[in-house]
């Protein structure tokens, strides 16, 4: 018990004393998560909107693929991306393996189906009278698309926040594609795993606190977004 309380005390000190290593790791995590979420939202949201609003051949198959992608284990995504980014892989010449960009690409693969699926659900859950209202106002197809996305904005914003929450707490892909290199690709989750295996609980706990703080902020954002007032 004494050991645990001592570890928590030291962890708090690390956070409060602005320990450079802690903040370097936090920054790396946030930086990678931001870019992977931005990229995945840029592709996933329009893709989700297209799937929800348009009828085309292969739509059920695409929906099935998107749903299945949500359930892919992160180590499988990590393995798949590793094969592509490794020296012998098709993108090996870019030298992205064991870089923050490499992790961001893996997390992009993880988050894109989340953004797309949640966007599909957001649009499909809109009031059925919306399409009629757009038409009776005389909206062009582009105006109708814009008005629909505007109506779905709270749920779509929640989708972005959920995708961010998923990538910032991910460990398998970050470990496989980043290699957990100190000061370069070490993220909060990989650092916690490493420090715990070394028996260095203080740093692991300190990062755990920050991660929980990030989770709290994300959940707070979802709460306000879903209330429709952000």
């Amino acid at each position: 018990m004494h050991f645990l309380s001592e570890s928590i005390y030291r962890a708090f000190l690390l956070v409060l004393n602005l320990d450079p290593e802690v903040y370097q790791i936090v920054w790396t995590s946030i930086y990678i998560s931001f870019w992977s979420t931005t990229l995945s939202s840029s592709l996933g949201i329009p893709l989700g909107a297209l799937v929800a609003l348009k009828s085309f051949r292969g739509k059920p198959a695409l929906l099935l693929l998107l749903n299945t992608s949500m359930a892919l284990p992160t180590v499988v995504i990590g393995l798949f991306c590793y094969a592509i980014l490794s020296r012998m892989g098709p993108l090996g010449d870019l030298g992205l393996l064991f870089t923050p960009t490499g992790i961001a690409l893996g997390l992009f693969v993880l988050a894109t189906p989340i953004s797309a699926n949640l966007t599909v659900a957001a649009i499909q859950n809109l009031d059925s009278r919306l399409a009629l209202t757009c038409k009776m106002l005389g909206a062009s197809p582009l105006q109708e698309f814009w008005l629909t996305m505007k109506e779905a904005r709270f749920a779509v914003m929640a989708a972005i926040v959920i995708a961010f929450g998923r990538v910032v707490s991910e460990v398998g892909i970050a470990m496989m594609l980043g290699g957990n290199i100190r000061g370069f690709t070490r993220t909060m989750t990989t650092a916690i795993a490493l420090e715990t295996s070394k028996g260095e609980f203080e740093l692991g706990l300190a990062l755990g606190f920050v991660l929980m703080l990030v989770a709290l902020v994300i959940n707070g954002m979802i709460f306000f977004v879903q209330r429709g007032r952000l």
């Binding site: 009278r129 757009c134 105006q143």
Partner: protein
């Protein structure tokens, strides 16, 4: 000659295999107030959506103010119409934004949009509500905002789907006055759907009766299904036998105009055909018109002007109905 707002020929629309609406020939003059009267599910909303060019006819022709409708020009045609649906949708934004959205879509001059929207809100008694979140409005307030959104568009033709639904009596009076103002002061064509024959007759220049997707010549009330017997002299609904005058060999339903059913609280109709004794099950009075629901073997609806002899009517009291054979239409 008065120009035509709509000219319709052999118009057909169907949601499935069965024809849901068929109108053979119908002209609606510009500047008229027209009521579409029919029971729920008769095709009034489908007809309004066709007139608003939200649905496209599957057969036949439809023209608006002399221009034949083409599917490829649906958006242009829609922008000449203002449709107020029965249960309108408001966007997740402020009241003012909701009124301005249609003006933006129809590309009104930017500098005028806010002014027009505020004027429209004021016209429906919603001034001061501009910054309110649309989702926080009551049902009646939301209906008025949707009405303001339609008015702001200043279209050639206004289409209202059950405009008096969900409104209190003051708002109904206001809406009726608005329909008259749009027509008399602004010379707009107004077409509204209603199941209230009294309202239709009070406001409209022309009343179009719709029943099971067809325009019919009589008010679509008192529908009884059954069969024609005795070489067309009798119609048997199962519960009642009616003497009918128009001798037809087949027909599975009859309609009786609710204004043409006589009633009495004593037995004064003795010796006449089609006299039915029953009990009053509903009673309502609106603007000097009385509407009765009577259970007399079948459930009848009666409309007539309020007179002194109506004072004794009570729910549950006995009543005798007389239906002249001439007022029965076999369909």
């Amino acid at each position: 000659m008065t120009p035509l707002a709509y000219s319709i020929k052999d118009l057909m629309f169907s949601y499935g295999a069965r024809s849901d609406l068929f109108v053979d020939t119908l002209d609606i003059s510009a500047g008229d107030v027209v009521a579409l009267v029919g029971p729920n599910g008769s095709g009034k909303t489908t007809f309004l959506h066709l007139l608003a060019f939200i649905l496209s006819p599957q057969q036949g022709s439809l023209s608006l103010l002399g221009h034949d409708f083409q599917n490829s020009e649906a958006m242009t045609f829609r922008r000449r119409i203002g449709l107020l649906p029965q249960n309108p949708y408001l966007f997740k934004s402020s009241v003012l934004e909701n009124v301005m959205v249609g003006l933006r879509v129809r590309k009104f001059p930017r500098r005028l949009i806010e002014k027009i929207a505020k004027e429209a809100l004021s016209r429906v008694g919603m001034e001061g509500f501009e910054d309110r979140w649309a989702g926080s409005l009551s049902g009646g307030e939301a209906q008025r905002v949707a009405l303001a959104r339609t008015l702001a568009l200043n279209p050639d033709v206004f289409l209202f789907d059950e405009p008096a639904n969900h409104l209190d009596s003051e708002s109904v009076r206001r809406t009726e006055q608005l329909i008259l103002d749009l027509n008399r002061c602004e010379k707009k064509t107004v077409i509204f759907a209603t199941h209230d024959l009294t309202l239709a007759e009070e406001l409209a220049d022309t009343v179009i009766h719709i029943f099971e997707g067809h325009v019919i010549p009589v008010a679509p009330f008192n529908l009884f299904r059954g069969q024609v017997l005795e070489d067309g002299a009798i119609f048997d609904s199962g519960a009642i036998r009616f003497h009918v005058s128009n001798t037809v060999q087949n027909g599975s339903s009859i309609l009786i105009d609710p204004r043409k059913i006589s009633f009495s609280t004593n037995e004064e109709f003795q010796g006449l055909a089609n006299v039915f004794k029953g009990k009053i099950i509903s009673l309502s009075l609106s603007k000097n018109r009385i509407k009765l629901g009577v259970l007399a073997g079948e459930s009848f609806e009666l409309h007539r002007e309020f007179r002194q002899d109506c004072k004794d009517l009570r729910i549950g009291s006995e009543i005798w109905l007389h239906v002249t054979p001439e007022s029965i239409t076999i369909i």
